[in-house]
Point group: C2
Chain length 231, copies 2
Amino acid sequence: MAEHTIKAFDEEIDTLRGLIAEMGGRAEAAIENAMVALLRQDRDLAAQVVADDKRIDAIEAEVEKLVIQVIALRAPMANDLRDVIAALKIVSVVERIGDYAKNIAKRVPLIATNSRTMEPVSLLPSMGQVAGEMVHDALNAFAARDPDLALAVVERDTVVDDFYNSVFRTLVTFMVENPKTISECAHLLFVAKNIERIGDHATNVAEMVYYAATGQTLPDRERRQDLQPEE
Amino acid sequence: MAEHTIKAFDEEIDTLRGLIAEMGGRAEAAIENAMVALLRQDRDLAAQVVADDKRIDAIEAEVEKLVIQVIALRAPMANDLRDVIAALKIVSVVERIGDYAKNIAKRVPLIATNSRTMEPVSLLPSMGQVAGEMVHDALNAFAARDPDLALAVVERDTVVDDFYNSVFRTLVTFMVENPKTISECAHLLFVAKNIERIGDHATNVAEMVYYAATGQTLPDRERRQDLQPEE
């Protein structure tokens, strides 16, 4: 590439990375707000999370457009091309993380937090916090191209998985003992599953970052994943 | 592009489309087999569905590799480039459909089909059939670039959504009346949700096909989607 083309390419890549960082920040905020809305039974905040998701979707569309433009105008070489395609994949994962947060928010009006359901509801925020931190660190690992931070995210996925399994059992027991809460607890099961999936997707991002930085995949997780349903 | 380059490009596009068709066929088979395994309590078949998913993942990786190669070697113009990037997006959706089928299969050992759970289990296969047909038609619409068939898939998504809502209510009622089945019914709730998500993803593919063929989006579904949690 000519020098001015390289400069334009680098600027476009910076724009891409900036958009991905913004998207990650918004996804994190969505997770936090969805958990607060659930805990406080705050329907306005839940509605806000749902509304804000449109911006996350819009950034994904913007990144796609920019990627096509970069490829068409700059014809990047193999390594740069792989980086640009990786950006496409990462935004698609972050968009899904935003969707999970939105889906949690959508369930808020269906789950009345009162003395009857406070006990099962209270299981979830710490799980949400771990998953939110994983998203934060995965995106930081991407921004800093930091394989060690990425690896730490991957290793934390088992915490969320163990959390989920424990919440699942606790909720089922609670349902058996409190049949009147079954409908609300069913929604809480899905909330727990959504948080667990957020952890999985943060892990996917971290795996992509690790692979991009080291050229090595992490085979152990693949085996572990096959032991239980993911969705 | 020079004539021989155009020929090579067309061949590569045909290879891409062939891989996507194969992937779609495998995803459909996975849905069917997962439902049969659930109904017959066939753990071997369920394990087969889980094992077969690796081939779906491998095809996605193959498509990604081919797309990068096509872009790097042929430098396709804007329209062709968009088609190639659309192929990437479609395989990522089909891969997720395969994952949902795999996740249903993984739950089979957790759900004992017997006289106690036969009633709630029997709700699911017809729902699975509708979702499987949507996947089939969405991929056919892609192969034939047929916007009418794509539109018919999008319209059918409400059938799966209504099915899901009805199954959710029925399962909750069943759990209240049969507390001993709560754990198994909780897994069935996730199976129903997975089927509903397969319908959503078939609809996503159909929307991409419709957009590619007509240049128009279908705004109505977006509004509808926001009325209820998707995951």
